[in-house]
C-alpha cells in the first residue's frame, strides 16, 4: 500500500484505540508536531462519525419501508385497524 494509505491504516488503529500504549504515545507525539497529520486525523475521525449517521439513516429508511408495507398491505388490515382505532 502506498504511504498515505498506511498512514490512514495507522490513524484508524489510533482512533479505534487499537494501538499498543507505546505506539499510541509515539503517534500522539507526531500529532503534536505535525499540523497536516493533525488535520488529517481530525477529518478521519469525522468520517467515522458521518458513517454512523449514514448507518442510522439507512436503518430508519428500512424501518419506514416496513411501516409502509404493513400499512398498505391488505394482509395487515386487521393490525392497521387496531392501531387506527386507538386514535379515534
Amino acid at each position: 500500500m502506498r504511504t498515505s494509505l498506511n498512514d490512514i491504516a495507522l490513524a484508524e488503529k489510533y482512533l479505534l484505540g487499537k494501538l499498543e500504549p507505546e505506539d499510541a504515545l509515539v503517534f500522539e507525539a507526531k500529532l503534536l508536531t505535525n499540523p497536516v497529520l493533525r488535520w488529517n486525523v481530525a477529518a478521519q475521525k469525522e468520517v467515522y462519525s458521518v458513517l454512523k449517521f449514514y448507518h442510522r439513516k439507512k436503518l430508519k429508511k428500512e424501518v419506514q419501508a416496513v411501516h409502509q408495507n404493513i400499512f398498505n398491505d391488505a394482509r395487515h388490515q386487521d393490525f392497521k385497524q387496531e392501531i387506527i382505532q386507538l386514535f379515534k
Binding site: M1, S4, L5, I8, A9, E12, R38, W39, N40, A42, A43, Q44, E46, V47, Y48, S49, V50, L51, F53, Y54, H55, R56, K57, K58, L59, K60, E62, V63, Q64, A65, V66, H67, N69, I70, F79, E82, I83, I84, L86, F87
Partner: protein, 187 residues
C-alpha cells in the same frame, strides 16, 4: 431471545434478515407504543415517528455485544419510546410512570446529528456514495473481507482492503474540502 436471533440473522444476510426482524417487532411492539402515545394525546403520526426512532435505537443497542435484554423486546421498546416522548415533551414528565427497567434505559445522547454532520452527510452522499456503501458494509454489516470482495467485485481480499483505505482517504479529503469551504474546522 430475540436479540440473539437478530445477531445470528445479521451475520448471514444483513438487510433481508433485518427486514423480517423489524416486521415482527412492528407487529409486537407498535400497538403498545401507539396506546401510550394516544394516552398522551398524540396523533397516529406522532406514534409512528416515535416508534421508528425507538426501533432504530433498540436495534443499535442489540448490536452492542455487552447489551443484555432483561425484559421482552416490546417492553424495552416501549420504555425507549417513553424516554423519547419525555425528551420531546418535557412537560409530560410527571404524567409518565416508569418502572425500574424503564428508568435504567438510556438514550444515545448523539441520536440526532448536528447541523455540521448533517451537512457533511448530504454532501458525501452526493459525491461519494459508492465509497460510503463500501465503508458502511465494512464497519456495520459485519461481513468478512472475502464476502465484501465478492459483493463489490474485487478479485482478492487484499484489493478489498486497499480499496477500504482508499475510500477512507477519499471521504476524508471531501470532509477536509468542505471544512475549508465553511471555515469551521475546530480542533
Amino acid at each position: 431471545m430475540e436479540c440473539i436471533q437478530l445477531k445470528e440473522g445479521i451475520s448471514v444476510q444483513p438487510e433481508a434478515a433485518r427486514e423480517k426482524v423489524f416486521e415482527a417487532l412492528y407487529r409486537k411492539a407498535f400497538p403498545g407504543v401507539a396506546r401510550f402515545v394516544s394516552k398522551m394525546n398524540g396523533t397516529l403520526e406522532d406514534s409512528s415517528d416515535i416508534f421508528q426512532d425507538a426501533l432504530v435505537i433498540y436495534y443499535e443497542k442489540t448490536q452492542d455485544e455487552s447489551f443484555v435484554l432483561e425484559t421482552s423486546a416490546e417492553a424495552y421498546i416501549l420504555g425507549i419510546a417513553k424516554h423519547l416522548w419525555i425528551r420531546k415533551f418535557t412537560r409530560d414528565r410527571m404524567r409518565i410512570s416508569l418502572d425500574i427497567t424503564e428508568i435504567n434505559i438510556t438514550l444515545p445522547n448523539d441520536y440526532d446529528p448536528t447541523v455540521n454532520i448533517n451537512r457533511l452527510l448530504k454532501f458525501i452522499e452526493q459525491s461519494g456514495r459508492k465509497c460510503m456503501e463500501l465503508l458502511h458494509t465494512f464497519y456495520y454489516e459485519k461481513v468478512s473481507m472475502k464476502e465484501i470482495a465478492g459483493r463489490f467485485g474485487f478479485v482478492t481480499e487484499r484489493s478489498a482492503t486497499v480499496q477500504k483505505f482508499k475510500c477512507l482517504e477519499k471521504v476524508r479529503d471531501k470532509i477536509k474540502e468542505k471544512s475549508i469551504a465553511y471555515e469551521d474546522f475546530i480542533e
